[in-house]
Amino acid sequence: MIRIAWLVATKDLRIEARSRVLLWQVLPFGVIALLLSGLALGPTRAGTSTLGPGLFYLVTLFVALLMINRSQALENASGTRASVATLGLDPAGVFLGKALALTIELWVTGVVLLAGSVLVLHTDLLHSLQALPSILVTLAALSAAGTLYGALTQGGDGPATLLPVLTLPAFAPLLIAGERSFSAALQGGALWQWWVIVVVAFAAYTAVGVLLYGVLEES
């Protein structure tokens, strides 16, 4: 399982490095969305900084949906699905590999958007850095859930446009916990209860993915 996970993750990351979709399409979109949010709220530093965590996760949600669709589309290109299916890859390994690659891509995105929120939304730099670990764990949980739901909507005849609707109930607790954790870091509140939610969700989605990804692939 670990061998297949590593194989799939390195393949996805190599494709990403080669196609540069994240660099030239997704990241610019995220930065522009963040910039527009800042402009819409006005330049008042205090006003925007309190909204920073929410806007950060809103833009992260948009970017994550794009990346999840992209991750699954790689496997569903014409003919690829059938050829790769005949390799008989361990579905748990495929799930872990795709979730790992997506996590790394979202981590890169998260760091860029965090820097963007400091510059555009004027969130405090040091407090934003304190929030970074919770952001990374939240993005890992989003990746696990997104990989699972991505397979659900991309497999067979499932339309990819269903992804935002289907993932929202799964993403909502993660986004709320992430936003609360980020806000707590900015305002000096307690973080641990939000950490617990995110870590438990990460473990749950990973476990469900390992167990059910094969069923989703077959369906």
Binding site: S19, G79, G214
Partner: protein, 201 residues
Amino acid sequence: MSKGFPLLSGVDLVIDRATLTIVTGANGAGKTSLLRLLGGLDALTSGEGRVAGIDLLDGDRRLLRRRVGWLGHEGSFYADLSARENLEFAARALERPVGEVAAALERVGLAHRASTTTKRLSAGQRRRLGIAWLLVRRPELWLLDEPYASLDDAGRVFFDGLLADVLAGGATVVLSAHDALRSSDLESCEVRMVGGRVSAP
């Protein structure tokens, strides 16, 4: 089944090991559906069937798929990976020596395009890459969906030679084509399909 409509029905077929079977028929006759069923890529919803000893109705289709090789008429690869990287992915997935990749590319005449991303290859070169993919995989059952499409005359001659080697090696080949092979000297059995049924085994 597709939206309640049976893709195949009345298919009664026995294919012997190490033989070449050519499934012919017009567009929509069910050639690709039959090949996908044989490879465990689609599920059998009723009736009975066994491929390589694995039951198509309730057997382990994942296990079956590991034993078949599929060459579709679309591209079969990750478009942003090079020819070599695609084959290395398959080799590593199946724990085959990565060294076989270079030999496979050499054999299909793609050694000079090994570093080219698949999306930059021509249709004929992608077809050759698909053949190289099968050479690396060495499956027991080769399922080839219109393999002669996009191949030039030299490619067809090469492909016939390859099929002869594959059959001599004990593998079974089932390929689809609109008509029976015209140029090939290979001994084969033709299965003609019409409207999802076998009309002439």
